[in-house]
Amino acid sequence: MEKMREQDPKERIKNFNEVPYGYNEEEAVREASRCLQCPTAPCITGCPVSIDIPGFINAIKEKRFKESITILKDTNNLPAMCGRVCPQEDQCEKVCVLEKAGNPINIGALERFAADWAMENNISGHEADISSPEKDEKVAVVGAGPAGLTCAGELAKKGYAVTVFEGLHKPGGVLTYGIPEFRLPKEIVMSEVDGIERLGVELKLNYIIGKIKTIDGLRKDGYKAFFICTGAGLPSFMGIPGENLNGVYSANEFLTRVNLMKAYKFPEYDTPINVGRKVAVIGAGNVAMDSARSALRLGAEKVMIVYRRTEVEMPARIDEIHHAEQEGIEFHLLTTPIEIIGDDKGDIKKMICLKNELGEPDSSGRKRPVPIEGSEFEMEMDTVICAIGNGPNPLLLDTIDGLKLGKWGNIEADDDGYTNIEDIFAGGDIVTGSATVIAAMGAGKQASIAIEKYLQAR
């Protein structure tokens, strides 16, 4: 596999610039030339949005870059983002025939190359930009994250008038507030959102559905179908003593300050952030890695991942764990915090933890961490970031009469996006709980198909 060149770890921990540089033309063509162009194309079935992977790779191989982006955009409205943040190693690359020889095609890097090339050359890649919708029916999408943008783009391509309502002041959802600049530059997110707008999608920012207007209100405004994709927007805490101390952040808050509000440019930007010298990040998913690596770049001397199981169970992408290790993040595994202790000013001094051993697998199939009796020990730190997941945000859901919710308060929707209310569809983290960008995009795409079917049958 042709590796992407990267910023040196010693340098990159001092800046927020993107870590991998991306292929140049020569590298991209060389990697694309390795593709066997299998007639069965298992990679396509490995992709949640079914990109014609051999097709776009072949176009790169033959240096028809414009065609490669057109092929990508035919099925994927956000290729520059997917190329960067999709877990390809668990999807398309996992089923690549060359994977059996331990050397799959670097599909993510090639996707990124094609998308970046198009961006540099100001090519949208869509067959044609649609400026005004040809169908009368209006569709409302609630949430401008990966699920919403995908669904909106697909429906606009079909000719529907789509409005995306976003609560924050910038579109992108987790792509904007969550994933850091060094992994996904915001310029790229905005450029891809721009591509969606060029399809005729209307974006309404600072517009919190459930507060400024309800779904019923939107019905009165003439919207005929609704796609709810508000993400997993309610941070979980551990429920241990000391979590209200100053210096305890949810990963959502920490990352939102850094990414959406640009606290890393404080005081040029007004939003502050406190990092301290020693930082502990609880959890070991992608969000935990993002938080840890951001803390390092903000000047922390020591950053620790504290995780209750072992490296085998860590939910983060291998690449992200690898990057974190390269940058000097410490991993404290089989460790569960039980209390955070503060000083008289309400600041953090230390955290008391227990050591675990692994027991029988739990409902997630992963081995359950079992605390070892009498294994208490202390860790010193100034900042604790809880990256242990999010629950569904009830702000909108509470205002929709009769919408069926699951045990944890998530919307009950099937794989096609149907809920128990006929004009309401849902997808992404608000249905599944915290998952991946590409899974949310897949849900957005499925829902666009279901919404079209519903509107046609009316």
């Binding site: 100053n246 959502n252 007004d270 502050p272 009830p394 702000l395």
Partner: protein, 282 residues
């Protein structure tokens, strides 16, 4: 963008800003707040809605210039535009069928008590208002409140106007002399703590409105969490109204101070830029 249609300086520190925000005005209820962002480099910060006009399509906030964001807002002029306003957020205050109420506003909190007291009066409750400030020139909203309420008590710390002392001094007298169904207090955390401490002795239900540090205001960041009834609650989505007898005010004060050093840095940076700007103009 939200054009400012009216700007008034209520006292040297506090200004009133009325800006276009039609859909927010249509949805707004007493007790709710909005999140503002003044410009591209600005913070997101919450302000309680002072008033809203569904016909003009405007919302009004009252703001005390204490940090960068509030100073930026107070420095704006009519005709200029605020970059972002999102809302209305938080639960509306319950204003119906309460009975005898005392509404207390301290400092800039007086502007936050105003819409609630007004809505309570309009719903037929018996409303008494106590407003307090450090001195006469800092007192705000007196006229607006007297328009709907004839039982208004005023206190100033220095005695330059009304009764010398704190709002709690008047509250104590009222609670001694009569029975009340509810006390509603908005102001500095220390004031809300003192009020809640006092009403607890008299067993009068007390609501306070909490204005913690927030980013999104929709429950997404958890930065505004307060210890309430021994458990963490989010001021933005669980509040902003809470039972004053169950709020951990000391915790709230600690948390309110958590960016003190950074706020000072940001303020110095802002003041520095302002001075450079003035030099350029010269």
């Amino acid at each position: 963008m939200h054009k400012i249609v009216r700007k008034e300086q209520l006292n040297p520190e506090i200004c009133l800003v009325e800006a276009e925000a039609k859909d927010i005005a249509l949805a707004a209820e007493a007790g709710q707040f909005v999140i503002l962002r003044i410009d591209e480099t600005g913070e997101r910060f919450p302000l309680t809605l002072y008033d809203w006009d569904t016909e003009k399509g405007t919302v009004t906030v009252v703001c005390q210039a204490v940090g960068v964001s509030t100073k930026k807002l107070c420095a704006m002029a009519e005709g200029e535009a605020i970059l972002d306003i999102a809302g209305p957020l938080g639960h509306a205050a319950k204003t119906k069928n309460i009975g005898k109420v005392i509404c207390i506003g301290g400092g800039v909190g007086t502007a936050e008590a105003y819409p609630i007291a007004k809505a309570m009066q309009a719903s037929g409750n018996d409303v008494t208002v106590i407003i307090g400030s450090r001195s006469k020139d800092l007192l705000i909203c007196e006229e607006d409140i007297k328009k709907f309420c004839d039982k208004v008590h005023i206190t100033t710390d220095d005695g330059s106007y009304g009764k010398k002392g704190f709002v709690t001094d008047v509250l104590k007298e009222l609670l001694e002399d009569g029975s009340y169904d509810l006390v509603f207090a908005i102001g500095p955390v220390i004031m809300m703590k003192m009020v809640s401490g006092m009403t607890k002795k008299y067993s009068v239900k007390t609501l306070v409105s909490l204005n913690s540090i927030m980013i999104d205001g929709t429950g997404m960041c958890g930065g505004c969490r307060v210890r309430y009834d021994e458990k963490p609650h989010f001021a933005c989505v669980d509040g902003p109204e809470f039972d004053g007898h169950l709020v951990d005010f000391d915790d709230l004060m600690h948390r309110g101070d958590r960016y003190k050093d950074k706020e000072k840095m940001a303020d110095d940076h802002y003041e520095g830029e302002c001075k450079i700007g003035l030099d350029k103009k010269k």
